[in-house]
């Protein structure tokens, strides 16, 4: 029963015709422009998404009406190569670190282009502390179906 089962990370890659420096800067400075509008915490329009440029910095969004909502924190800040952000809960809800998933983005020079690799991991930390979730995953029949779904998708990527 010591088997540890976790959700497979989400991994996505895109190649862009630009330098790692420009790619990293756009990722961070233009986040409110390129961010999938389906995923905002605040009411639209969101006028800024701020990633403070240092480890331990805040990561938050700001809407037209002045409201702020925290996304998480900067865990690794290594421009133009690597950025790791914690992805947590809106302000006012639990801020315990076990409740955060992580987003890691790396920027690698490939010829004259940049490969951007994105990984979102620790999905199982969304709300359910690790131990309870593992218990659930290991319970007979309980989460096996979910695992199968996750494994299928991970295999397809």
């Amino acid at each position: 029963m010591s088997r540890q089962v976790v959700a497979a990370p989400i991994r996505r890659t895109v190649i862009v015709k630009a330098s790692p420096e420009r790619s990293f800067a756009t990722f961070v400075d233009r986040m409110h422009v390129w961010w999938n509008p389906a995923g905002h915490l605040l009411n639209l329009p969101v006028t800024a998404m701020v990633v403070e440029p240092f480890e331990g910095g805040r990561w938050y969004e700001k809407s037209n009406d002045g409201a702020l909502a925290d996304w998480g924190k900067v865990l690794v800040w290594e421009p133009p190569k690597k950025l790791v952000l914690s992805w947590g809960m809106p302000a006012g809800l639990s801020q315990h670190e076990d409740n955060f998933s992580e987003l890691e983005v790396t920027f690698t020079l490939v010829g004259e282009a940049t490969r951007i690799d994105l990984e979102q991991r620790y999905l199982e930390r969304f709300g359910a502390p690790g131990q309870a979730l593992r218990a659930a995953l290991e319970s007979p029949g309980g989460w096996q179906r979910a695992l199968n779904l996750i494994a299928e998708e991970a295999g397809a990527n």
């Binding site: 420009r22 309980g142 996750i150």
Partner: protein, 105 residues
């Protein structure tokens, strides 16, 4: 899973009471009464939390005799993962356009 539903699932479990309910269900299916027994909130509050969790696709319910029994929805994480994967597919497309536009390519 819709965007709104996924977003809701992401945020719902940040609440300590809802998380406590979710953890208890992780150990096995329970009725509302048994769930409320070990929590410092009223039975009706527990019912409301369960409704929210159910609406977000995180728990399911079934009727056993005179009782309604709640359990973790085995598809919950899979749905969430699928939604996030699609979320990033769109996001990275938009990122690529933004970077390449600015690069003048």
């Amino acid at each position: 899973m819709t965007a709104a539903k996924a977003q809701r699932a992401l945020t719902l479990l940040g609440d300590p009471t809802r998380r406590a309910i979710f953890e208890r269900l992780a150990a096995g299916p329970l009725a509302v009464g048994a769930l409320a027994g070990g929590l410092p909130v009223s039975r009706s509050a527990v019912s409301q939390h369960l409704s929210a969790l159910k609406e977000a696709g995180l728990v399911t319910s079934s009727v056993e005799g005179a009782r309604r029994v709640y359990a973790i929805d085995p598809k919950g994480l899979g749905d969430l993962r699928r939604w996030l994967d699609q979320f990033w597919a769109v996001g990275l497309d938009r990122l690529q356009s933004e970077i390449e536009d600015k690069a003048g390519v």
